[in-house]
Symmetry: C2
Subunit: 349 residues, 2 copies
């Protein structure tokens, strides 16, 4: 039987000691990590980039099908992604975890092991946080701090008419993975002897459970001296994010439906679920790909990178935000987004 | 009747827009605030100081007697206090709020009004955050970023033998205030027609519900060229915090019981509650005063400040950590601390 240590046996200080004793600091900008009233960083002449994202049990994740290690990993990725979206690199995080007595020390360690792994893979130091109890459920909030040279910052607001709209990787897969997990959960509820079969869904499940942040794309853009004019990461779906860019940049856009990069497995999963793949890909969240705009002068360089698709271009604001079908019909883009204050989720409508 | 807007009417983006539209940025180090993937700060040649603290409903606060505005205010103070404890000044915060549908938009705005007030009073910019729903309860996590010159940093680890141990303000009051609130809640539960009478408890209640962070002490120390050798803020009680300093600094201490600064109202409240005032003052948390050590050369300057008490001195490690009674008996200091994973709170034992 697996060992179960109750949180109250260790107490807050004991738990923090156990979770943080293995932390090694690697970044030169980290001067002081866990163990004092605050951490100390030295960013010298670089800008400090800061973002915060929280994941809440029952809202953002379901522990019936999310292993704790994957959850810890994903919480980090979600945050790193925001830093990459500024054309910056994440360097430090602080972690707040609030867990009820339902969770053992070993469970929290499992969660932390995913956080460690993500930090190790992306070269990020854990510099502090808070670990508290909750009356129910699990709540994780991460603040991430990154660095960028002041002339390299890319905001949402710099897109200009005639810019090309670029997208890394492919989209819709994380949402397709979620649909598979939800279907298997429902089947399991109806018949607890049911053994879920996840073969042929590996890609979409990995995209949902162990997403990537786009460090390689940012490194490649930097190495090739391409400075996007605007950028955002895809957390709420392409439709929602392109509207953020258009509104912040005061421009319109045309996105070509046939250019949307959708993986074969994503496509097949949506079809199985009777969801139009284009609709699923446009509105499904959690892909953590980068959506960015470039000046046309960079076109020759961009087209060399097979991980980047050019999906449209920026227009004058008066043209609005449009999706162009293969039949050359323009459809106004609307954000389905995801209102998690609503009881019913309507992503796929 | 007061207006109640449901969170789902606004959705996440609507709520964020409503909460953040009034934010003004005042610090020169804040380059970009809310509204992009991340915020941007420029700390130039100063060190970046980072800390995170969370407050969870049912664990750290009880909404039956904590007004939401006070709660928002206090969440900020708790975090600012950690930055002051590094001899630094808070400049920016990010806020994560997770609230169930039980809370209306107006309730969240009330919470934010306290956050705004604290930020305004302490000169701090709100630069980002995340607002999500929860399945139950209210969870608030704040990350605070501050600045300090590299030669002004004060850690927990610098205390040296013969240093004087100093304490700002007075202690035990916040805990005494909590006891009053808990008593009135119990009385109200037994008899719902009961009207609580808080007169003659104003000071201890204010210390519990609207604490201060010690900006003035830090400013005064800086102005008078006093660089403490070590420092910590009192969140878990003096007994617990002095042990942190001793362990991090590898020293012992003697604290004189008769030197503990305890307000008259605090004293009287503890007596009413049949708690030994010294025990209550030593172990009660949430005072957010500063505990620090100074070199003896600074004694003449320190004694001019009526808000600072000298309560003991640092000894060699082999002497241990001792409380000296008026009868000159040494009692080993033990941290009662506060294990919030335990169902029963035993602060006053």
């Amino acid at each position: 039987m697996e060992k179960r240590t109750e949180l109250e046996e260790l107490g807050e200080f004991g738990l923090i000691e156990r979770l943080t004793s293995k932390i090694k600091l690697n970044n030169p900008s980290t001067i002081l990590g866990v163990g004092d009233d605050a951490a100390l960083l030295n960013y010298k002449d670089k800008l400090v980039v800061v973002s915060t994202d929280a994941l809440v049990e029952g809202i953002h994740f379901d522990l019936t099908y999310t292993p704790l290690k994957h959850l810890g990993y994903k919480c980090c990725i979600v945050n790193f992604s925001d830093i990459f979206a500024m054309n910056a690199f994440p360097k430090q995080i602080t972690i707040t975890i609030s867990a009820s007595n339902r969770f053992s020390v070993e469970a929290i360690e499992e969660l932390y092991s995913g956080i460690y792994l993500a930090c190790q893979e992306y070269g990020v130091d854990i510099i502090g946080g808070d670990t508290t109890s909750s009356t129910s459920g699990l709540f994780i909030s991460i603040s991430v701090i990154g660095e960028v040279e002041s002339d390299k910052v890319v905001k949402r607001s710099g897109a200009k008419q005639h810019n090309l709209i670029c997208l890394s990787g492919d989209i819709g897969a994380a949402y397709a993975g979620l649909l598979v997990l939800e279907r298997e959960k429902a089947t399991f509820k109806a018949n607890p002897n049911f053994q879920p079969d996840f073969s042929s869904y590996e890609y979409v499940l990995e995209r949902q459970l162990k997403p990537k942040a786009q460090k390689e794309i940012i490194s490649w853009l930097n190495k090739n001296n391409i400075l996007p004019t605007s950028m955002i990461d895809l957390s709420d779906g392409l439709a929602s994010e392109i509207l953020h860019i258009c509104r912040k940049s005061d421009v319109g856009c045309e996105i070509y439906l046939e250019k949307l990069p959708i993986d074969y497995q994503t496509n097949r999963t949506f079809e199985e679920m009777k969801i139009n793949p284009d609709v699923g890909a446009l509105n499904g969240g959690e892909d953590y790909e980068l959506l960015f705009t470039i000046d046309q002068k960079d076109y020759e360089k961009i087209k060399e990178n097979k991980d980047i698709s050019i999906i449209g271009h920026i227009t004058d604001k008066t043209m609005g935000e449009n999706l162009i079908t293969p039949q050359n019909t323009a459809i106004t883009i609307r954000a389905q987004g995801w209102n998690h204050y609503k009881k019913e989720e309507n992503k796929d409508e």
